[in-house]
């Protein structure tokens, strides 16, 4: 069964950034340059946080926006064909929740692939890697 990363209760977020840092370790590196999940405060630490990550749209606008067909809908979320991508950033502009991030070094988009690694490092139950309901 396919699984999807979900932000289940953002009120529990403490801004530890373990999710974003875990995402970078996919590539065996530290930092946030290629992280596909980001956290920022709503407007001051005391007001809580926003966790920005791909929510695996049923009809993804980023795929529609790509002029060369480099973004294809996958079973869950999308996949980017980096060979085909021309680095035009149309996908970044198209995503209304800001979940298409940018790898400045390679000039390519970074979009969550719903691997669930970040959720396994979330100590406070903000993120969950959950089964996608049929249909």
């Amino acid at each position: 069964m396919a699984k999807r990363l979900a932000v289940v209760d953002v009120e529990r977020c403490v801004d530890c950034l373990l999710c974003a840092l875990a995402c970078s370790r996919r590539f065996g590196e530290g930092g946030l340059a290629r992280s596909a999940i980001h956290v920022r405060s709503v407007g001051g630490m005391e007001r809580g946080f926003v966790v920005v990550v791909c929510r695996a749209c049923e009809d993804p606008p980023c795929a529609d926006a790509c002029p060369v067909g480099a973004i294809q809908k996958a079973e869950v979320g999308v996949r980017v064909d980096l060979q085909r991508c021309i680095g035009c950033r149309m996908c970044v502009a198209a995503c209304p929740i800001g979940a298409v991030f940018w790898d400045e070094e390679r000039e390519k988009p970074v979009i969550c692939v719903h691997c669930g690694l970040c959720a396994s490092f979330c100590p406070h139950g903000v993120l969950a890697f959950e089964e996608v309901a049929d249909g």
Partner: protein
């Protein structure tokens, strides 16, 4: 090794200029954090430098594990302290370490003095100098953060360090606030910022950090993460936070109450961690890279007196040390009063610990008639009267009138002017932390390089000895604290949170360093710790410090500890042994 770490950013506020130097040797030999900062301080701060002169460098340093491993979340600041006139070293969490590392620097050095108030934005490309004239004099450090937050980019990738009115007015224990609730708290970094007309420092970056052994890195990270979230090591910080200390310290009679005239509340202390959590805990926060989330925010709901059904809810962070200094030291009975005072201290950006000890001294001095209403400007400080204390801290931050001007320099100066030295609770010029557990605690305050309880945690040695029913000789105690302080130099060079000390033994540290491409075995780390501590001590001696001349406030030998009354001669003899160990 990551070359980004070896880059040192030099900022000259006098000329509004900056440059970056790669200093691989500095980081090869000094690791990072305090190991690097103390070396830069020795080099860049000429002997006898006035802390408020443009020459005094502000050095911020991170280390090879920063942003890479769990709880490697701290930044070290080194400077000449305007409060003690000697070594200034302060540690801060929040996003500071992550931001500095991801902006591509191992250290940031700020010297000079700007002609007009400025704030700096540091990113991967360098430094932007921004006019801060419109921010100067704002009554709240929170507002400063709010304005900069909206004006600058990098949301979620940045750290915003700022000072308040106390720093602008050179209160010698003004602090620097990061991310609203974390601080470079002690020894007056905020006043050094103020003397340079530096209102704030924004640091942002999202660089990647390469490691030498990729699979090894992920494996080791997971192992440490599992340990951190599963083990009991962090339970106390996680659940109640540091205020879980209040009840146990009260129970053994080691909780300083009313300027250490007393050591316990007869009933349950009003600020127990359990009570605070039950009544006020509104949100928890973590430093970047920390699964523990020890930062506890109280939600304080207050009605406006002038309009019915109109409320405000303020979030105030609470921790053990401010609870001690602004709560129990002031004989407080009312947690809401304490939270309101704490909130004001945050707005003004003062070191909460020193601030509380100063207010406690003033209350006792008033009781004894050393100062009168003529001095206080009509205010009557009384134990637990928070409305008066709130007004007093405002006057201190603004240095309004002679008394407050003196109080803005700490209890040592206050006692020199008004008397009451025997109950002026400062060690090496820095006000006392919240432990009257026994000789260990006080030996730490006296001999620790920062005169901070965290230097060598003598309070923990005391508590362990109490449990085991034994007492160390002065020499044994000195040796135990020396070796602990030396070990902590390794942690503060990497830079790890001290709460992680149980997670990171030297073997683990050696493995972490291997993964990032550095070869340090346990023995060389141990040696490095001792050497770094001795370097700090050498700097202090160069600047006129002498262990033999330390003042021991009579109050600490008069008020019994759980071990009974302390003898000054015992502490002196431990200090003598410490002097031998530090000289090497």
């Amino acid at each position: 090794m990551d070359r980004g770490l070896t880059r040192v950013l030099f900022v000259d506020l006098s000329r509004h200029a900056f440059r970056v130097e790669e200093q691989p040797d500095l980081f090869q030999n000094g690791l990072g954090g305090i190991g690097v900062a103390v070396e830069l301080l020795r080099e860049l701060c000429p002997q006898g430098t006035d802390p408020f002169s443009p020459e005094n460098p502000v050095i911020l340093a991170v280390g090879p594990l920063s942003a890479l491993f769990p709880l490697a979340s701290k930044t070290v600041a080194a400077f000449k302290s305007p409060h003690t006139g000697n070594l200034g070293e302060s540690h801060c969490g929040g996003r500071t370490a992550l931001a500095i590392r991801l902006a591509g620097y191992g250290a940031i050095v700020i010297t000079g003095k700007s002609e007009i108030p400025v704030y700096l934005v540091v990113d991967e490309k360098g430094v932007h100098f921004r006019d801060a004239r419109a921010l100067w004099g704002l009554s709240s450090s929170f507002t400063v953060g709010r304005i900069i937050r909206e004006r600058e980019g990098g949301s979620g990738l940045r750290s915003i360090l700022r000072i308040g009115q106390a720093g602008e007015n050179l209160v010698s224990y003004a602090n620097v606030v990061a991310e609203s609730y974390r601080h470079f708290g002690r020894l007056g970094l905020g006043a050094v910022f103020g003397s340079k007309r530096l209102k704030a420092l924004v640091i942002m970056g999202r660089r990647r950090i390469p490691v030498a052994d990729k699979p090894g890195y992920s494996r080791l990270y997971r192992e440490l993460h599992e340990k951190a979230v599963r083990s009991e090591l962090f339970k106390k910080y996680h659940d109640l936070g540091t205020p879980q200390n209040v009840r146990p310290l009260n129970a053994i009679g080691a909780l300083p109450v009313k300027n250490l005239k007393e050591t316990r509340y007869p009933g349950d202390p009003p600020f127990a961690g359990e009570t605070m959590a039950e009544r006020y805990l509104g949100r928890r926060l973590a430093c970047a890279g920390c699964p523990v989330a020890c930062i506890h925010l109280a939600a304080l709901r207050e009605p406006y007196p002038d309009e019915p059904f109109f409320y405000k809810t303020t979030f105030v962070s609470y921790d053990y040390e401010p609870i001690y200094s602004l709560g129990t030291m002031l004989g407080g009975e009312d947690p809401e009063g304490y939270l309101k005072l704490m909130d004001e201290v945050e707005h003004l950006a003062l070191d909460a610990m020193t601030c509380g000890v100063v207010l406690a001294w003033a209350t006792e001095a008033f009781e004894r008639g050393l100062i009168t209403e003529r001095d206080t400007g009509g205010l009557v400080p009384r134990w637990g009267d928070y409305d008066v204390y709130i007004e007093m801290v405002r006057r201190i931050a603004q240095r309004r009138g002679e008394l407050y001007d003196v109080l803005a320099r700490g209890v040592e100066e206050a006692a020199k002017r008004y008397g009451g030295e025997e109950f002026a609770l400062a060690f090496g010029g820095n006000e006392m932390p919240g432990y009257h557990t026994g000789p260990g605690a006080h030996l730490t305050f006296l001999s620790g390089a920062r005169h901070s309880h965290l230097d060598s945690a003598g309070y923990a040695v005391d508590q362990a000895c109490l449990k085991e029913g034994r007492r160390l000789s002065p020499q044994e105690l000195a040796r135990a604290l020396f070796s602990e302080e030396a070990r902590r130099q390794v942690l503060s060079s990497l830079v790890l949170c001290f709460f992680a000390r149980g997670l990171y033994d030297l073997e683990t540290i050696s493995n972490c360093l291997k993964v990032v491409g550095l070869d340090w075995d346990q023995e060389s780390l141990e040696e490095f710790g001792k050497e770094t501590l001795r370097r700090k001590y050498a700097f202090k001696v160069r600047e006129g410090f002498d262990l033999k001349e330390l003042r021991i406030p009579r109050r600490i030998t008069e008020t019994p500890t759980p071990f009974g009354r302390l003898e000054e001669v015992e502490l002196r003899s431990a200090l003598e042994e410490m002097g031998r160990l530090l000289a090497g």
